[in-house]
Amino acid sequence: MINWSLLRKKIDGKLSDAEMQIFKDWVDERPERQKFMERAEKFYAKDEMPVVEQQQEDKAWMRFIEFRKTKTIYKQLRRWGNIAAAVILFAGAWLLLRQEPVEPVVQEASSAFEPGEVKAVLRTSRGEVLKLGKNDQRQIRDRQAVIKMDSAGITYEIVVAVEKVISIDENLHDTINTYHGGEYMLRLSDGTRVWLNAETELIYPVAFAGGERRVKLSGEAYFEVTKDERNPFIVETEGVDIKVLGTSFNVCAYDDDEVVRTTLSTGKVQLQKKNKKICVLNPDQQAVVNKKSGEFEVMDIQSSFYTRWHEGYFIFRGNTLKEIMKTLSRWYEMSYEFAAEELDQEKFYGIVSRYGEMKELLRAFESTGKVRFEYQDNKVVIKR
């Protein structure tokens, strides 16, 4: 055994002859001690503090999730060394994601491949059509509600007098659409918050009258439903209805997908079809329901992977390139084409901001060496 203080003195170059002998005896005995000293010397030579960046934390969390699943294998692999374990477990390819481009990004002249932004179109029950953007600052008065638009999206507030005097007409519906490359947030008259992803439509009553609170969704949205046990909240989609009491969850029900994916973050939801119960979800569970056949599957997952888009991230965990490109094409202004066979089945892991440039994002995929992208006008060609 050697004392750390002595090693520290060695690093500072302050060893006496006798101490030097003790050090040499220790260090020469094992090669890993030699390596340890090299690292220690490097550590003390730095004149900057060690620091942990956000991306390291994100990656560590992903690693924790992955390793938790494959723990038994991992424990065995560890004995062969960490590198082997890392290589085998991440054979799907791990994206090394940079927060800042190392090289300066060349500004593109065209607007191709621009990311989406906060924008939507509102059609009110009275037939008005309003374009909604990020910096709106206005307010309109409907018969039953005041509709406020600001940087936090759109908010419906029931007019108090109306609520008391006239009965609310639930048949007055507003429709909000986010088209290609748009996202938007709204707060319904019961306080429920909804984040709409790109290419999504939500139809909802201007004011809820009491009784069931029904909205109709096509596309993808994240809901934080205000608790009201007497008046369940129901999201209707093509294929399945989701009944909730007060909870947060994500629904992905695009027209061109064969399945509806419901992911629960908190609380409890019940999936039903024509008022017949299909299944009940607990937090961190996801139900995938086939729209046509009604077949379904419930899986244990980590819900944040499916809901964090509403906080501005794309999260891929073993998604195929086919799924990834579909997701990206809804958000970025582009079309794409696979130029190599089976390339669309390649799997990737990673977290990336939704607001970055697409080419920068795709560069992270390229850094895995599994895939290359070529750009032609508005089109991305995917090659090996």
Binding site: I2, S5, R30, E48, V51, R63, F64, F67
Partner: protein, 190 residues
């Protein structure tokens, strides 16, 4: 789930993975800095921290109800670091390395185990050598992981000023934890 006073209320089997993500993200940075300052090897530090979280995740449900998760995590990371040292046949008799790791992880009072109260005192003294502005910059840099440019913007300083402050602070902290100044201090307590 709230993380108040660093005590996670129900460390029970009901803790969902999302709840645990909150725990993970609250402590990962500091635990990593602790382990890294100790073993001075990035891969080893990452493994030690991952193991500490795995242990607590697997034992959720069996842990005492009002467990101080922060102290528990730090204790398990510390023991793993000491084990790593033992494997290399190094002893940290005067707890110099421990104190350094504690310093660079900016561990709070709740973190420090009773048996380490003396080194915590030394760490506190080292931090007190910094000017309030230096301390603030160091905290933003180390515990929040902000970049030079972000700190500069937050505090309305130039990037170069931030850089200079950090270097100076680092030097001060190191000098105050050098074996000569610390060794004596801790030695008295043994």
């Amino acid at each position: 789930m709230s993380i108040d006073n660093n005590i996670i209320a129900p460390a029970s089997g009901k803790m969902s993975l999302s709840d645990f993500e909150a725990v993970f993200r609250s402590f990962y940075r500091r635990l990593y800095l602790y382990a890294y300052s100790f073993v001075m090897d990035e891969m080893e530090a990452e493994d030690i921290v991952q193991d500490a979280f795995s242990i607590i995740w697997e034992r959720r449900g069996k842990l005492p109800e009002h467990l101080n998760i922060e102290a528990y995590l730090f204790a398990s990371v510390k023991h793993a670091c000491l084990k790593y040292f033992r494997r290399l046949k190094i002893v940290d008799d005067y707890k110099v390395k421990q104190a350094e790791a504690l310093l660079f992880s900016f561990a709070g009072d709740d973190t420090v185990l009773e048996e380490d109260a003396e080194i915590a005192e030394a760490v506190k003294k080292a931090i007190q050598q910094l000017t309030p502005q230096q301390a603030c910059i160091v905290e933003l840099y180390v515990t929040e992981g902000l970049k030079y440019s972000e700190i500069a913007k937050t505090l309305d300083l130039s990037e170069n000023t931030v850089k200079t402050h950090l270097k100076r602070a680092y030097k001060i902290l190191r000098e105050h934890l050098a074996p000569t100044s610390l060794g004596l201090l801790v030695f008295v307590c043994f």
